[in-house]
Symmetry: C2
Subunit: 109 residues, 2 copies
DNA sequence: GGTGCTTACCTAGTTAGACTAGGTGTATGC
DNA sequence: GCATACACCTAGTCTAACTAGGTAAGCACC
């Protein structure tokens, strides 16, 4: 059984932005999608998720609106802004460079 | 020009352990080696490095001994312990899983 | 001999992100 | 009636890395 990463090490924002790049989603669904897509290798704690969403909303990367989930429940739907899309590109690039550099040192060629 | 990563996001310990796996080195040389090897994509701040070395010494991953640098200066030489070597394997594996999961989500296939 | 650069180490205090550990309320299934 | 899943929220803590300093020795240079 895959032991999940304990710490998202600064990648949470990028992961959320990427999730929303596929279309608007509510918080709970973002967490579920990331966990499913990573085969539970990433675990998104709610105590990390919701503060991150506020942070990103304040920064203008995402916008929220109350609506309904697929199951008909009250849910806060988030979607990417133009600034957020730009931010996603920047963070993706930064991740590629960082992860590449670390991997070249840590992992066998 | 490569803009260096601002934050090592929890990889510093693994990077130090890996550096020492090639043989004993003093703190300053560890930083130089990592920066050179990553073509300056990783920057090791001294305010991060020395506290990390203490942390790792306390945990028994590395051992220190005063000696001389290649240039004949007083320097504290660190080397991996058996526990540290085991820790390096664990952290490398953890990094591979984590970076893989994040990359599969963020980066285009 | 003074000035500046590099080597080498160290530390106090701050920041930021994710965490733990709780809480609310609604709906569904048994 | 009770447990579980859905969906959101928050206070407080932890940790790693950061900024921004400092010490000291050796070297080159004029």
């Amino acid at each position: 059984m895959a032991v999940a990463a304990k710490d998202l090490h600064g990648t949470l924002d990028a992961l959320i932005l990427k999730t929303l790049s596929w279309g608007p989603r509510h918080g709970y669904a973002i967490a579920r999608w990331l966990e499913d897509t990573s085969a539970d290798e990433l675990v998104i704690e709610e105590g990390s998720l919701y503060p991150a969403l506020y942070r990103m909303e304040r920064k203008g990367w995402i916008e929220a609106e109350w609506g309904e989930s697929e199951l008909g429940r009250k849910a806060k739907l988030y979607r990417l802004t133009t600034v957020g899309r730009k931010q996603l590109r920047a963070e993706t690039e930064e991740w590629a460079r960082f992860a590449g550099a670390v991997s070249r040192i840590l992992l066998p060629a």
